[in-house]
């Protein structure tokens, strides 16, 4: 479904990704784990069109998307739920969700999608008329995920969804990710919570200093000595 081939990318003169190759197949939950600064966020931003790769190819369903603008990528069915929520602070939750369904295809089915999303996040039903900026961190994360779902993506990418949340909320976030995956949406997730992420992932890539150093099934990576030492502190 999504293929990265020798992708290089960075900011200005700083190269972050030194030619990474990875693959996400339809229906999978794939994770990229790695330390801060390894290039996880840059990888997702390159796929989303926010960072332009300097070399390599990114293809989605056979089409080259590496040179596209972000809105063109969204229209192809890829949505990124960014790190730090990034809600529209002075818009109601309802308008935040409506913004999620901005592409013509999503807009046509907005009402239907909204009901589905509110069934997934019943708490948000009571919050619909509040400003996005007035919610708690956990609720904001739920809105961010719900807003991403409003686009009816084929591939949903999560960037550090549990960052800065209380442990009980973190558990809810991972529950939601699993439920979304079970509805057939393909998931690519980047997380600092390596243990939980590998537990729900079909496959994982380990990213170190802008290069993929290892890839295997989630379960196998959980048992791997290097992963256990470096990321799980065992």
């Amino acid at each position: 479904m999504l293929t990265l081939h020798e992708v290089q990318a960075g900011y200005g003169r700083t190269t972050i990704l030194h030619g990474i190759s990875a693959e996400v197949r339809a229906g999978e939950v794939v994770t990229i784990v790695g330390a801060n600064g390894a290039g996880k966020t840059t990888t997702l931003r390159s796929i989303a069109g926010l960072v332009r790769p300097t070399a390599g190819r990114i293809t989605f369903e056979g089409e080259e998307i590496g040179r596209m603008q972000p809105h063109e990528v969204v229209a192809r069915g890829i949505t990124l739920i960014p790190e730090g929520r990034q809600l529209f602070p002075f818009m109601s939750v309802r308008d935040n969700l409506r913004m999620g369904a901005y592409t013509p295809a999503a807009r046509a089915r907005m009402q239907e999608t909204l009901e589905e999303v509110l069934d997934l996040f019943p708490r948000l039903r009571e919050r619909l008329d509040q400003y996005g900026g007035s919610l708690s961190g956990g609720e904001q994360q739920m809105v961010a995920i719900a807003r991403g779902l409003m686009a009816r993506p084929k591939l949903l990418m999560f960037d550090e969804p549990s960052l800065g949340l209380a442990p009980i909320i973190v558990r809810q976030v991972f529950d939601v990710v699993e439920r979304i995956a079970s509805t057939g949406v393909t998931v690519l997730i980047v997380e600092q919570n390596v243990f939980r992420t590998l537990s729900i992932a079909d496959r994982g890539y380990v990213l170190e200093n802008g290069a993929i150093v290892m890839s295997d099934t989630g379960a196998a990576l959980l048992r791997d000595d290097h992963v256990r030492r470096a990321y799980l502190g065992i």
Binding site: L50, Q69, H71, V74, Q86, P89, M91, M99, Y102, R147
Partner: protein
Amino acid sequence: MQTFLQLVINGLMLGGLFAIISIGLTLIFGIIRLVNFAHGELLMVGMYLTWIGTSQLGLHPYVLAPPVVLVLFVIGVLIQRFILQPLLDARDAHVQIFATVGLSTALINLALLVFGADLYATPAPGVREAIHFGPFRVLIGQLVMFGCGIAVVVALHLFLERSYLGRAIRATAQHRAAAQLMGVDVRRIYIVTFGIGAACVGLAAVLVAPLYPTSPTVGTYFVLTAFVVVVLGGMGSLHGAFVGALLIGLVDSLSAYYIAPDLKEVVIFGLFLLVLLVRPTGLFGLGRGSE
């Protein structure tokens, strides 16, 4: 008492003038985060277009509103697309502001070249006539301007709150990167917004032309007050700009009579500085950047 009330009416009418000139400026600032120093010159262009239409084609200025608004919208779109957008990724965001300063100078000198420095009065039958409400009087042109000012603020508000495009415009202003992730083509939003801002000042030009003579520097005269209005109201706030404009109009009218005509600017800018000291974000400012 009667004098006072007449002065208040005059002040509100003057406020209507300031409001309609300021709306486009505050819209462009609020969404694109760009201080458009060529705003006054867009007004000037619109006023010349109105003058040409009335004096050369014999049309009433109000009939010219649709074509002038349309032409200014197109001019605004072209400015954003071909002058400002290429500078969007410039290393320093201030480059765009200097581009508008350059555009302003270029337009003034272009007008000098084409029309000379003469003042042109726009013929407008009926617009300068007064209507009487008991002992009070207002010019028809002022009343129309006031009504249009309110109508434009209400229309823009509804557009921004209710329509998909309007929501996308607000989303872009509040969080540009997140708007991109929703599938919003931010560059297109900026082009449309600049077009709408220019169209607003086009409407202002049609309404202002019958009341004030047109000259190459007419924009500079009005736009300074417009900047005060926009900052006073809270930069980017539409209703803030409207209230700010009425306030400046009232202060202008009352201080010219009760203090001295020569000192009204002193009073206006004194008050302006005072508001900035007490509320640096303006009367309706949110008090923080959105990004």
